[in-house]
Subunit: 361 residues, 4 copies
């Protein structure tokens, strides 16, 4: 049954509701013999954790991951890595008023209709809390990728109407994670933080954009024709809560360009075939060409706002709703490690799949 | 092995190279008992066919589909539908000069590196010719959807910098397919056609945008959390050749909006729960909510241009390339039925998956 | 990556090593709205548990299952059911001597060669301890099946050369589980127990046969042509540790029969089409025909014996090995609930798949 | 949708009904760069072909395979291999009387109930004619395996009550295919042929056993825990029409053996770790250990007999049926290449999967 898994070879299957006993998952397909730094997994989780800064939700989860299998004496052994994160700071009473109410632009109505029953507490499984499991899997994938010298960095490039200017130097994780909004351009970061605080004080929320860059990807990743690398990256991102758009390389700008301007000429750089420009975003015909892969992900504003809204309850009666609980005013800062995680899982998967392309490999 | 299939239950697996004996595929998962109009399948293929108008490639393929199984006395019988389209108007000599040359922004280099061998004639399997198989599967899916009153229409909403104004009436297939550029706004269509002809005369190419609307979708389609309906639609579109971006509902605009403006309030319309606005694009929490699903797909300009370009050959030597063969100056008019087909396959698949959600269904 | 999952719609993915922190898994695809009796899940686990009787291993695991998700107010909600069983009575020191030794007819050598590394303690993931996760999933499946009036019973029909005579009444779970060897024929059960005790006293082990009967299966389960119901049942059984053979219906006897004797004539029994005999074992053309499904599963003798054996270590040196640790002298009594579990998972999966066969269902 | 595919990486998806325009399929996952001998593919098909000898059905199909893609200049190119076999000698009128009649121990009743509609001509897709597609895929797999020095041979080891004595030399394909019954023991072969002719003259049919041996398999194939190599081989065989049983290595005999007799001691043979005996059948813990893999497959007698049988029609009325059409009196001789094909597909698949086990491979 599809729905709870991502990846073909390197694969995460997740479980868990926001206010149940625990969330967790199983990471399959990591080859045997990889040294795993479990502190790094926890570090990635800490970067996604709620309550970590003044501009995120105040729900405080320790989000301590417990690794249950698949690792022996510090190395992967080829068996699935089961893991668990207990749900601790659960204030389910905050959600009692939502038992019968359909919050606008949330998943309450659609889940109730689909399943005929739902765990309404904290959004149940539709909560972004589920993405913690993705981050665990992503942190394993990143260590596999590191072994192959692949690097991934994501960052906030827009919050509301504030857009970061284009940088002409590579983005480093240090520059990303040294401020609360995860924007590597300090002046823009300050404006973003200020805007988020202002919006929060109004009880409102904001959308934004997360950009991502993947470097060191070998030539050849991607499985034509339906599992093009860009298609799978797109699905990975669009499966994250609140995402409304995805563009790779030239993206939507490509629509208004001419072929003569958009084409990336090949050149021979010290014996290595490369492209001079990179409108392709590192992928041609669905397969990586060795250049930087870069893409942008659009997030809608968080649906839970603190002002009154009109809606209906499960019997169809009109009701007035006012947000309670603890929520993010803008989701993109905490989305950065999630985007990185999903990118890492996708690339790791295709890296392994590519072992199968040739007769002698 | 992933790569050649799309869908979990309603599923297309395709095969075939552009200049081999034939392309074709297998459609699985169509329930037994559906009356199939084979003329409609051919009609959809005709809409994708090269050489059909003055603004498309002059390669003339009849593209006659032969249905080989899965249908008995005009109805599906629950077994896979095998089908075949012979490649006829093959001028492989046109491609001899490409045997060793890597065309910019084509798949030549990446395929050669991935597999160590490739059928270079006409792009082999990386050619958009493969999408004819998708159209066949899509035409089956559309007939299944029609049985459930689901309607799909796509159209060209932008060519280069020419954008169609927003229509305030639903788009009909009649209005789409009555002009060569498949834009349902006649005045804009005329400008687009004129621009494409101008660009072609310069030996250049153009990108564009295809929009798509799906109506009549029941509430409940989508498989959380990784197989959200929007994520699978996005993958479906991003797997089409030349696609660089996908946005659903409010799309990238959502990034600069506030929650209070973006939320779609629920209301009770004659006993039916609906949303007043539809920034969600008909999907909430990854599951359809019964409203119109709409999205936009960005296509890059065709990579084959008729002016000289610098590139390298397979040994890394610099060479000058000038496009030969017969190519589209702008891909979006012929992409319309492909977008419709992939949308239909995706919705049909989730329609069937949704039979599995509840205990008693 | 295949290996850790079974089922397409109703699906178990398991994780865990014998002497790691825990084993567990994720059950996907159980439709929403099923009332789940968690005591029944524990009861099934208790039936598989080591240390439960005088003829099983003395390793004492409480094997308490903790259900972590997918259930709300006593019912399934359509989300994955994550679960966990802690490993408690771990005496890893018992296995130190096996670090470098390849036990005959165990998985030590093959796992080491496949992965280059292994958790040698208690057999790691190759231990039959993993089957506890199958029993949990099976206990969920059985409750789904019960809702559809499908019943499953397995029993020990042979231990060594002692075979149970054919019963002419249906086997009940009560008759199976009321003795330690799980043979519903008391006189035979007594002989089997006595033989097992005798063999154990010699430090040796014994093989046996588990038989299984499934009743109330609706007509139509099975997915031709590669996923015939008998083929999937066979794989389910052959994936259980120590299984060497599987036969359904007439089984190997069919090879020496004539068509005129083997065919099952159809008849009309009060308006219902049935077969008079049932050599088919309830499955024709890979699809259930409504009759009882029955099959037999052959288990080899347990590989760990308490007498000295010649073998080699990982550097290829000859060594002498004598079994330590706590092991079963005969695996079939504890295999009974595992066979039932795997049968239940398989039938549940095909029951759901069959919802997809027809246009209007 | 499961049903029409076998394999994870090396994968066959088949289509086609017995009396439709064609049968065929798609072979995916064969690595690029393999030289393919298309004559060998046809040779394998010829060995399965009806009408080839005096003891098989007289239906005469040329069964000429047309390869449509995936091969360029004699080599695989990593893309799917589409293929087609036209149905030529179709005498559908022979089957008109079966339109409403449920033949005993055929798939008529179960297919009709499952799908509500069926192509009754020649059994439609439930016909063993479908296995021709398996043979094509198997012939590709065999060439991949040959590259890795894996050899496969199957043979008829029993027909009715006539069993071949155990040979003490390896079975060669030459010895198998040099007589009509495919038994490598000439004296037994003669008896089998004589028995089949006798049974045919009585209008009756016979079951039999096919044995199979796989040599040169590297250590490490098999994916624990659910996709053990023996489990997948078992499913492969049980998915073949008319198969009722499967046993590997010691098989059902294991049930009555003691561990001290059944264990296969390891030894060091010139620096290579091997087992002295091979009751395991070359697989331990679900993973190949380098020794010969051998198994036996039981086939029931053909259901179509030429004597009168009582049965019912689709409205439940009692009718008398007498076999018409052209059928095999005993299926095992023609099953030999099918068993080889399914074994080859399975081993090829696991050979490729095993590339994914270790970090550095």
């Amino acid at each position: 049954m599809p729905g709870n898994s991502f990846g073909e070879i390197f694969k995460i299957t997740s479980f868990g509701e926001s206010h149940g006993p625990a969330i967790g998952g199983i990471v399959e397909g990591c080859p045997a013999g990889l040294s795993l730094d479990t502190d790094f997994i926890q570090l990635m989780l800490d970067r996604r954790r709620p309550g970590q800064s003044s501009i995120t939700t105040q729900r405080k989860e320790e989000d301590t991951v417990e690794l249950l299998s698949g690792i022996f004496e510090g190395k992967t052994i080829g068996t699935p890595i089961g893991f668990l994160i207990r749900n601790k700071d659960v204030k389910s009473n905050d959600y009692d008023h939502l038992k019968e109410t359909y919050r606008p632009s949330h998943a309450d109505f659609t889940w109730q209709e689909k399943y005929g029953i739902r765990d309404y507490r904290g959004g149940g499984r539709s909560s972004a809390r589920e993405t913690a499991s993705r981050v665990v899997a992503g942190a394993v994938a990143m260590q596999l990728l590191k072994h192959y010298n692949v690097g991934i960095a994501a960052w906030v490039s827009a919050v509301g109407e504030i857009e970061m200017p284009e940088l002409h130097t590579p983005v480093t994780q240090e520059a990303v994670y040294n401020n609360d909004v995860r924007c590597p351009h300090p002046a823009t970061a300050a404006k973003m933080i200020s805007l988020i605080k202002e919006i929060r004080s109004e009880g409102d929320t904001l959308g934004g954009v997360v950009s991502c860059s993947i470097t060191g990807v070998p030539v050849g990743l991607g499985e034509p024709v339906f599992d093009k690398l860009n298609a799978s990256l797109g699905k990975a991102m669009l499966s994250i809560n609140a995402v409304k758009g995805f563009e790779i390389g030239s993206g939507f700008n490509a629509a208004s360009m001419r072929g003569s301007a958009h084409n990336d000429p090949f050149t021979n750089e010290k014996g290595k075939i490369k492209t001079i420009s990179n409108y392709s975003g590192g992928i041609q015909g669905g397969i990586s060409n060795g250049a930087e892969i870069y893409f942008r992900v659009a997030f809608k504003p968080v649906a839970t706002i603190m002002t009154e809204q009109e809606t209906v309850n499960s019997t169809g009666e009109a009701v007035t709703l006012k947000g309670k609980g603890r929520h993010d005013p803008c989701v993109v800062p905490r989305a950065v490690p999630i985007v990185e995680a999903m990118a890492a899982i996708t690339i790791a998967d295709f890296l392994l799949l590519n072992r199968l392309s040739k007769l002698n490999s």
